[in-house]
């Protein structure tokens, strides 16, 4: 799963560059430039990705620590 997540992040970085709409001035719904609409959609895809990450690769061990150690720490430096 770690490699799937890493690969998907690389895909998202590539998708962000969207050279295909670089000079396109088409207006979506008559008021939204296509480049802006694309990146609005990209933002929603980022949100869905993060939601999926919290379901699929969430570090459940951290929640175990939370149960074992509900209070704050105190053994730090200095």
């Amino acid at each position: 799963m770690k490699w799937v997540a890493t690969s998907w992040i690389v895909v998202l970085v590539v998708l962000h560059q969207d050279s295909w709409f670089w000079t396109d001035k088409t207006l979506v719904f008559g008021f939204l430039p296509i480049g802006l609409a694309y990146h609005a959609g990209y933002t929603i895809l980022a949100a869905i990705t993060m939601w999926a990450f919290t379901r699929l690769i969430w570090p459940k061990q951290l929640e175990e620590l939370e149960r074992e150690q509900p209070g704050a720490g105190g053994g730090g430096h200095p």
Binding site: S19, H39, A40, A46, M50, L65, G75, H77, P78
Partner: protein, 537 residues
């Protein structure tokens, strides 16, 4: 007069939140600096987002889209919508875990323990504080100017004058910020931030609707722009004015988010790690709700107020609001913009104070000698000292705002270039303090050099046409290029060599030097160490 009254009531309300937070506080440093690590999901999300949503970013992005078009959204917002949640997911959760387990309250606190070092931590503290101070100053200067602009009224002898002059406006902002931070600490700052983020979202939405209605509909405005014969104006509907290398470079800038001390400290104040789940999922949507209208309105403004130069265009949102909404909405939006100024400022001041109190006062024996209460009151007094110094500098350097704007640009790159240090600390056992020191010195040097080359080529920039870039030193070929926007390295922004240079130095120097003791490595990398990615690093 109405805007002035609304703004003053708003500032009083902000200061009052601090008093309420004070009544909930306990007399401990952890409560003051981290709200006893007790922030719930909603406050954590909105406060973290509000901290990152600076007036500089919002006004600056609309001003930039006025000049360069809709691509600014991809440049600044959608890249952040991916990278910042990823940083929170992979780094923020782990920082939270370490803070909970070992009691760390700042990044330097952690680095010192992780790499068994003292003075190297101090070097990182100095570098971080130096890059943070311009933000605090520019927020105050911006706040004073916004209050002055919004309180303008007709004078008897003709013309206009402010009811609240700049010096008084900056004083009002610094008073409201310092009081709620002094009294409420992290809890006060987080509550105020949450309130301010909601206020900005609500009144921002109303303003977008009202402006569109007053202009006769956004479809008509965009159709006019698409058909425009003004040179370069129709190009605002695409990304033609942004070079691909610059667009790619900007992808690295949001790495700075996790290295801003106030952002890292916020990560330590969550009550539960599950608070991060909501935050990372909703954060991109929050970014879209704020930045999409800001960038869009910047482009809309180009059809209304043509010919503004860089710098002048930073006020286009305020101009649109004043020109196309009533005084009541304009005042609340003004309060919303002030909220952006103050929400970031309060967390930045608190971050600086937390760092000073923990990384300097406590580390060099102050807490052991004078006790926990003295640490708490040192923090509170430092809030007032920092606020007073920041106010005096904001008055003295009012007309030098552009210098601080420049400093912020490079500080963003500097914080991004410190990210490899944090990543190495968290995920690479073999990393060493010498690697961290070399990377930090590299960051300090390259921030300075970026500034130097930018300044040295300022005269050259005035001779350039839009989109043109020329070598600063012809004998170096394309290594250092200058465009109207700034200095680039082979066409890429300085952040690219800064981040990769920092990572490379961290790696090479760590391999060449002695790692921390087995005990420390076992402490931070036990066999079953939880990793945010679910794997042992």
């Amino acid at each position: 007069m109405i805007p002035t009254i609304i703004m003053l009531v708003y500032l009083a309300l902000i200061a009052g939140v601090g008093a309420v937070a004070f009544s909930r506080s306990r007399a401990s440093g952890e409560d003051f600096f981290l709200a006893s690590r007790s922030l719930g999901s909603v406050v954590f999300l909105l406060s973290l987002f509000g901290t990152n949503m600076t007036a500089f970013a919002i006004l600056g992005s609309s001003g930039m889209s006025y000049q360069r078009g809709i691509g600014v959204y991809g440049l600044m917002a959608s890249s952040s919508a991916l990278i910042i949640p990823l940083c929170l997911f992979f780094i923020g959760t782990r920082l939270w875990w370490l803070g909970k387990k070992f009691g760390h309250m700042t990044q330097v606190d952690y680095f010192r323990d992780r790499w068994e070092c003292s003075h190297i931590g101090t070097v990182i503290f100095v570098l971080t504080a130096a890059m943070l101070i311009p933000y605090i100053l520019i927020a105050l200067i911006g706040g004073g100017k916004v209050l002055e602009t919004l309180s303008m009224h007709p004078l008897e002898g003709g013309g206009q004058g402010p009811i609240i002059p700049y010096s008084l406006g900056a004083a009002a902002v610094v008073f409201a910020v310092s009081i709620h931070v002094f009294l409420g600490g992290m809890r006060g700052a987080a509550w105020v931030n949450t309130f301010q983020t909601i206020l900005f979202l609500v009144f921002g939405t109303i303003a977008v609707v009202l402006i569109g209605h007053d202009l006769g509909g956004y479809d008509a405005v965009m159709a006019k722009l698409a058909a425009s014969k003004v040179p370069g104006q129709a190009a605002l509907l695409s990304r033609e004015k942004i070079p691909p290398t610059e667009f790619l470079s900007y992808m690295l800038i949001p790495l700075s988010s996790i290295m801003f001390p106030h952002m890292a400290i916020m990560c330590l104040s969550a009550r539960k790690v599950s608070s991060f789940k909501t935050t990372v999922s909703v954060y991109p949507i929050c970014i879209m709700l704020i930045w999409l209208p800001a960038v869009y309105l910047g482009v809309v403004a180009a059809t209304q107020y043509a010919g503004l130069k860089q710098g002048e265009s930073d006020n286009v949102i305020l101009t649109l609001i004043n020109g196309h909404t009533g005084p009541f909405i304009a005042a609340f939006l003004g309060a919303g913009i002030m909220s952006c100024v103050m929400s970031s400022d309060s967390h930045q001041i608190l971050g600086l104070v937390t760092m000073f109190t923990r990384d300097i006062f406590a580390h060099y024996g102050g807490r052991d000698r004078f006790g926990e209460k003295a640490q708490l009151w040192t923090g509170r007094i430092f809030v007032l000292v920092v606020s007073l110094i920041a106010y005096l500098l904001a008055i003295a350097l009012k007309d030098k705002e552009s210098i601080f704007s420049l400093a912020i640009r490079f500080a963003f790159s500097g914080f991004a270039a410190l990210a490899p240090v944090m990543i190495a600390a968290l995920f690479w056992k073999r990393s060493t303090k010498w690697g961290a020191l070399t990377a930090a010195l590299w960051v300090g040097l390259t921030v300075f050099l970026s500034w130097y080359f930018q300044d040295a080529s300022a005269a050259l920039a005035k001779t350039l046409k839009p989109g043109q870039s020329v070598p600063i030193y012809p004998e170096l070929g394309g290594l250092l290029l200058r465009s109207a926007g700034g200095v680039t390295v082979f066409g890429y922004l300085p952040v690219v060599p800064m981040v990769f240079g920092s990572a490379l130095l961290m790696w090479l120097v760590s391999l060449a030097t002695r790692p921390p003791s087995e005990a420390t490595i076992a402490k931070y990398f036990p066999a079953a160490t939880p990793s945010p990615a679910g794997a042992t690093p």
